[in-house]
Every structure is written in C-alpha cells, then in structure tokens.
Symmetry: C2
Subunit: 411 residues, 2 copies
C-alpha cells in the first residue's frame, strides 16, 4: 500500500463477500432495494466503513455515505465517489458494488498511506439504482440531486406492493439526513463497462465523457389481414413487413450516424400470427440511444418521418407511444482529462467512450462536475451471473481511481 | 330457364339455406368435416340431389356424388363439377358450397331445358377439404385421385381425437363405393376467388390456369442477447434484425419475380423480448407460393443462399425446418380456353389467373383434365363471416359454368 497502489486482495475479497449476500434458494444473487437481502448487504458495507474509521451517514431515502474528514463534514465540499449495491434479479457481483467498494478501498489506501486530503472524501452507495423493485431506477441519486421529491420517492410502491419508505424503516436505513446534504466538489464513479468495447479493443480504461440519451417507444403498425396465397404483393398492407422495414431502417441510421448511436427492436409481436395469414398488426418496441440531445431529437424526428412515409407507401397506419425518455448527459471535460492523464501516467491504454447504460453519475452530474471510469467486462455480459471482469482489470481500475482521487482532493 | 341461363333465385336460396346449417351458439358457421353439423349439411344437399332426380352415390371416404345419366354410370366417362361443403371455424357461406350448388344448378338447368348430354354429368362434394378437423386438407379429393390410401384416411385422427372412419359411419356417410369409382372426362370447379384481384381489376371471370406450389418453412435465427445500450452496432448479433432482413428480402423477391410469386412471414416471435435487450432468437414462418415447380425450387434455393450469407455477415446461425410443401399444379390448357371462350361469348370481362389457395381441383387434376373458374370476392375476404360475392357475380359465374358444361358434355 505504500507503493501508491490499492490492496487488491482486500478489494477482491470484499467484492466476493458482498456478492455472496442475498443469494436465494437457487443460489441466484437477488438483492433488490430495501429488502431483507439489501439490509444484509448494507450492514456488511457499513461494517467495513466503520472498520475503516469513516463516519457513516444515511439520508432519508436510504443513501449511505462513508465520510473521511479531518474536520467537520461541511468545512469544504467533499470529493465523492460511489455507485450502488442493490442488484437485479439473478445478478452478477460487479455491477455497482465494484464502484462502491473501489471508493472505500481508495479512501482506506489514502488514509493508511498518510495522505492529507484538502477536502473530505466520501464513498456513496445510492438506493435503488436498478429500479427492479421500485420505479424509477437511479432513484437514490435522483432524489439526492433534487430531481425527485423525497416524499414522492418514499411513497413509491414496489412491484410487490411494498412502500419504499416503510421498507427503509423496517431495514433500519431511513436515515435522518436530507438528501443532498453534502454537495460534492466532484463525483467519480468507477464501473464495469457492461458492454464489449474495451475487451474487444484490448483497452484497459474507459474515460467516460458522456451518457446516451434514451428514447423508448412502443410502435403499433396496423395493416390488413389477408390470405397469404390469394393476395398479390401489390395489394397487401402487411403490418409485419412494415415492422421489418422499421428494424432495417434503424440499423441503417445507426451505421450512418457520426455519433455512437444505437437502436434496438427488442420486442416484436405479430397478429393474428398464422403461417398463411398476412399480419394485420405488429407491435414493437424501439430503444434508441444517442449521446447528444440535438442528435437524439433529430433521430426521433427522422424516425417519425420515415414511419409516415412507410405508412403512406404500404397502406398502413402506424401509431407511436412514448414509453420513456431521458436526455443525454455530458460529463465534465476536466474530469475526463484527469482520468485520461491518470491512466496514461500508469502506462494504461485508454479511450474516451460513451456510456450506453444509465448510472448514478448522470444524476449527480446535475449538481456537481462528474465523470465515470470503465473497466472491461468479459464478453460485455452484465445483469447476469456470468458478469465478469478479470481481477487484474478490477485492481487496475481502482488504482486509476486512486490517482484521480488524490488529484481531486489535493486542493 | 329456357333462355339458356340458370335459376339465380334457386341458386342463391340454396346457398343461403345451406349457409344456415351448422351455426353454433354464437351464430358462427362451423361445419367441420364429419361432424353432426356436417351431417345436417350433407343431408340437405342430398335432399336437393334427389329432388333434382339425380342418382346419389357416396364413396368410402364420404365423398358425395349426384349423377345425371341417361344409361348406366359407366357407359362413358362423366363430366364432373364440384367442390366441398365442409367449412372452417366461423366461416363464410360461399367457399366450396358455391361450387357444389352451382354444379347442381347447372345440371338441373340442363335437365329441365331438355338438353341431351353425350356423357353423364356429375356433381361432387368432397370430404374434409378444409382440413380443420382432420389432416391433410383436400383429403376427400386426394383419396379419390389415389394420392392417399383410403384406409389411411379413414384412420385419420381429428383435433378432437375422433377417427374419421368412425365419424363417417356415425353420420351415415361411410359409403360403399371405392374412391375413384368414376373417372371424369374432365373436372371443372367454380369457386369464389378468396383474393382481391378480380374485384380490384373490375373483371367478372377468372379462368384459372394454374395453382401455386406452396413452400412452408419455420426458420429459427439465433444470435446473442446483449444490452441495448452498451453494445455498439458493429458488435451485435441481433436475431431480430436477421429476421427483419428475411422479411424484406422476400418482399424484394416477390416484386422482382416474373411469375405471380407471393411470400408471407405470418408468425414472428423474438426472445427474450425485452425493450432493452438485443434479441437472441427470432422464430418465424415463411409461406412462399410460386405456380411453377422450377421457379419455386429456384426461390427456395435462393432463400437458402440468402440466409447463409446473412448468417455469415451478422454472426448469426439460422436453422430451417420444412413444415409443408406442395407442387404447383398446371390446369388443362384446353379447358382454360373453353372457359375463356364461354365468358367472351357472354360478353364478360375475364382474365387468366393463378389460384393462390389449394382446391379439390388440384387433386382431381392428377386423374383428369381439370380447371377452375373464379368469381370476384368482395374485398378479397374469405374464411371469415364477411366473405361475400355479389349475387349478380354468383349468377354470372354459374352461367359460365353452364355454358362450359354444355360444351364438355356435348360429345
């Protein structure tokens, strides 16, 4: 630890230990927000915070903070690092937990090395990032950043009918602090990529400069059911063909885009669904992600125009329902540069990248300069027990976080 | 009737009366083969045959024949006309019944006009054309033409577990005659088009010169499920995109085809079917119809090559299962010309066309010269209570059949 690096063994040990908390009867990791399993995970994390000599603070929405401070908390705005420790159903052990335990590891390393930070350093674990039990996802950081009223969040009803506020009280994590009680000087979130880019390109560190805006739509294409044998091609209004054209259009747009746009049709159902009947109805979902708001708006408009033209040409009617929409997030350029410099100083290959998934960092970015660091995910797999990042890569990422934290807390 | 035309009132009245037999509790027409409802329809038809003074013969597979003959049945090969009187579930009243009752109407008209045919004239109603209760469809005519063993047909198990042979005995239509006991000199089937072509083109009579060969396939496209946000386009193996490409490919082939090819993807399902997950599997059906065997084989091969290339390009694997395959049928050119001449002689617009659906005529075509006559279907709708052909068009079609029958039985 005196060589300026973190204790990899301790880090990996904690990731594994936390990853064993919340296993169900089938051995699946299910640590949904504010459940008994989540309480077990929180208790373990808090025990480590105390063991590291940090002050523990919990806010009203259950966000947990471990604070290392020479003086009082409010002397100066703290450097904050963190992520979340709730999980999806049948989860892997890295998503979220890695960023939280990395932040703790960084603080412990700095502390034991005799480093004297010029401001408090805080590790944060935000409530209900995954959004599996309570909507919306990233709720804890959203409330913390003032994007959602705390009372509204506490009244949220879970998929199991439970109310978040009551559940937090039950597990002992309805804290006294007002969300946002600490405004960070900057926020850094280390996370597994959850995508294939770093691994495929053989790059160690992603300096995440922005986060995709997300446009979710449900599209219903209506045509006319007809006999597959007796209806000539030119006399068809084939809803399934209309849906297929939307799928191929989106691929063309994504390939032609100068920004890292992606688009996905994940659900597609035909009616009446018979081998010899032309589909009268196709219902599909579109997930479109673009990291710049003006470009995302442009793509939404272009899609609308395409579907209008398609409907006209094919004798279809197409209706669109917006399911969800979030704006892209531009992370702090100065922080991104610091991450790049830190990676370069350790001789690590690195690249700027876009986060395709949502993270707590995007919420905190509304109240403080924020950025993220990615490490490679094996096969790009996430939200799955096969989620994996090699131990070397895990340790490397935390060392970069360590160097970044040192720089950001020096002054 | 002495003006050389049929009795339109009697024809329409019988179509309506038969159409009211076999209504279920919801008023839906359901006259599945060899059910009690089918018995009612058969009994009514047979009563009309007797009323018209025809000999009634039933063969072992339940096909019913009404025979008008001066001498014994076997003096000369008979002219045969007919179709089927079983129905689909929630059927219209014209499909099949029109052709059977038209044939009876033609025979009655010729008889009462004092016409002296040079050969017997027979109206046939074939068993289980629709194939809803027992597989395969067109079973009665298939067995009649020697394409299926009668014992095998009688052993067929219905969707309700019933055995055809037993059901025919129960309803009194397990006849004594060997299927094929009459080999027709020619066979003409008048039918509603069940497609939109004649109505859209404003044409009265279709002279059907061939019948589509049908290739049914089930295709499974396998890719890799991945996060819709974090997986760049170039790193995807998107099974849904693969399926969409197959759909658009088939459209392009159908449009580019010089024959009246049609292709339909009626069923398409994605897995895991989540908004933000790239589909790992797409299961689709392909119904491809081409009226020439060499061209159908060509299209099947071209599709295989396209899917191989698609799999290669997109990192997918694609498996194909053959669900059904029937060869195209070329009807008798001389008969088609007689139909055209008959229509022209009455000043009726007409066109040659391809039947996109299967009919008993395709089975009888293997043992005798055969052809079909189509009349317009309103909106191309069939297998649906909204199935409709205007009364004028119904009568017009039977008058053409009358003229064709006169020509074919004169010598």
């Amino acid at each position: 630890m005196n060589d300026g690096s973190i204790d990899g063994g301790r880090l990996i040990g904690r990731i594994r230990e936390l990853g064993n908390v919340g296993r169900d009867a089938d051995g699946q990791l299910v640590r949904l927000a504010a459940t008994a399993a989540d309480k077990q995970g929180r208790d373990l994390f808090v025990s480590w915070l105390k063991e590291a000599g940090l002050d523990v603070a919990v806010d009203r929405v259950g966000n947990i903070f471990g604070i290392w401070s020479a003086g009082g908390w409010e002397e100066r705005a703290p450097l904050m690092m963190g992520s979340h420790i709730d999980s999806v159903i049948n989860a892997g052990i890295y998503d979220g937990c890695y960023g939280v335990l990395a932040a703790l590891e960084v603080i412990q390393t700095l502390k034991s090395s005799g480093f004297q930070p010029a401001r408090p350093i805080v590790v944060a674990a935000f409530t209900n990032e995954e959004g599996v039990r309570f909507a919306p996802d990233m709720m804890g950081s959203l409330v913390y950043a003032g994007g959602m009223d705390v009372e509204e969040a506490l009244a949220a009803k879970g998929t199991d009918g439970a109310v978040l506020g009551e559940e937090l009280r039950k597990i002992g994590y309805a804290g006294p602090h007002a969300p946002g009680f600490l405004t960070p000087s900057s926020y850094i979130e280390l996370h597994v990529e959850q995508g294939p880019v770093l691994e495929r390109e053989g790059i160690a560190i992603g300096a995440v400069e922005n986060l995709q805006g997300i446009s979710w739509r449900k599209v219903v294409v209506s045509g006319t059911a007809n006999h597959a044998g007796t209806t000539p091609t030119g006399m068809r209004s084939d809803a399934g063909y209309g849906a297929a054209r939307i799928v191929t259009y989106l691929r063309e747009r994504a390939l032609a885009s100068s920004s890292p746009m992606v688009a996905t049709v994940g659900c597609l159902a035909l009616e009446p669904s018979a081998v010899n009947v032309i589909p009268s109805r196709a219902t599909l979902t579109i997930d479109m992600r673009v990291p710049f708001e003006d470009r995302l708006l442009e793509e939404e408009d272009a899609l609308d125009r395409f579907m209008d033209q398609l409907a006209e040409e094919e004798g279809l009617s197409i209706s669109v329902e917006r399911l969800a929409r979030s704006k892209p997030v531009a992370f702090d350029q100065a922080l991104v540069e610091i991450i790049e410099r830190a990676a370069n100083a350790r001789g690590l290959s690195n690249r700027r990248m876009t986060s395709g998934a949502g993270h707590d960092a995007q919420m905190i970015a509304t109240i403080a300069p924020a950025a993220m660091i990615f490490v490679p995910s094996v096969g790009g797999i996430s939200h799955n027990p096969a989620e994996c990042t090699h131990e070397d890569d895990l340790v490397t990422g935390v060392n970069v976080l360590l160097d970044v934290a040192r720089i950001l807390s020096l002054s």
